[in-house]
């Protein structure tokens, strides 16, 4: 087969454009139905996040209560309580350049 024959074949095939009318009919309707079905199935992530708001609120309240109760049981001088058993000499030496 030479190039001329091949070009003739292409030329003949070009005139036989594929019939797409059946698929084209109602394509937009099928697409929108599919998009809506996907949305209904998955749902947007922020809609799901809103459902978790009560859970997060409960966690925040629980942390607040726990923190408040913990503070009440601590000594009044919090700084002193934290640093009471800490040896500060290495830090002091480091800062002095020793």
């Amino acid at each position: 087969m030479n190039d001329e024959q091949l070009n003739e074949l292409f030329k003949a095939a070009r005139t036989a454009a594929p019939d797409t009318s059946r698929v084209g009919f109602g394509l937009e309707t099928r697409l929108l139905a599919r998009l809506r079905a996907e949305r209904a199935q998955a749902g947007p992530w922020h809609a799901f996040a809103w459902k978790l708001v009560p859970v997060f609120a409960a966690i925040v309240v629980a942390l607040g209560v726990w923190n408040f109760a913990g503070l009440r049981s601590e000594p009044s001088d919090l700084n002193a309580a934290i640093t009471a058993d800490v040896d500060e000499s290495p830090v002091a030496g480091y800062l002095a350049g020793d």
């Binding site: 003739e8 292409f10 095939a13 394509l27 599919r34 998009l35």
Partner: protein, 182 residues
């Protein structure tokens, strides 16, 4: 293709779609489905394939619409999606169809060949080629796209398009000469 004066522009329909108006997207689909089905129809084996490809093209366009910057016409942007989707389809569904008797090929390339028969023979022969070869032949020889257009649609360089087109023609000739798989 652009919008007639009495119809909303592509840009307006895109903005409305992004704002959640599904009917605006349906209008975009109506505007471009003929052109895109014409491209996809060259690759699909039947209506079922064509419907799958067409839906995939427009769903990809819908999901990526926010990335469309408007620096090229919407038709070009969505055509690139169409070509990429067709290419992916070819890679996924490459199958070997039954051999066509050599006499039928010879008849098809003789001067009395009918367009329909020529199309069938060519489709059979193209199915024997690789996805890239088939893509470049379809775009350049059947869709009559230029090298530059083919490069823009496929993302290949123009030099690459020329090389692939040459090799694809040689491969196609070989398939048509032998009537069998390469």
């Amino acid at each position: 293709m652009s919008a007639p004066d009495h119809e909303p522009s592509d840009e307006r329909l895109i903005q409305s779609t992004l704002a959640g108006d599904d009917e605006a997207f349906a209008a975009l689909v109506r505007r471009y489905k003929g052109r895109l089905l014409g491209i996809a129809g060259r690759f699909a084996r039947n209506d079922h394939d064509l419907d799958d490809i067409a839906q995939e093209i427009f769903l990809k366009a819908y999901r990526n619409l926010a990335k469309y910057r408007g620096d090229a016409p919407f038709e070009h942007w969505v055509s690139r999606i169409a070509v990429r989707t067709c290419y992916d389809f070819l890679r996924k569904t490459r199958r070997h169809q039954g051999d066509v008797p050599l006499e039928e090929i010879e008849i098809a390339v003789e001067d009395n060949v009918g367009a329909r028969r020529a199309g069938e023979v060519l489709q059979w022969a193209l199915a024997k080629l690789g996805p890239e070869e088939r893509l470049v032949i379809t775009l350049m020889e059947l869709e009559e796209r230029s090298v530059r257009e083919t490069a823009a649609l496929t993302g290949w360089s123009e030099a690459n398009v020329k090389v692939r087109a040459y090799r694809a023609r040689q491969a196609l000739k070989k398939v048509l000469e032998t009537g069998h798989e390469r």
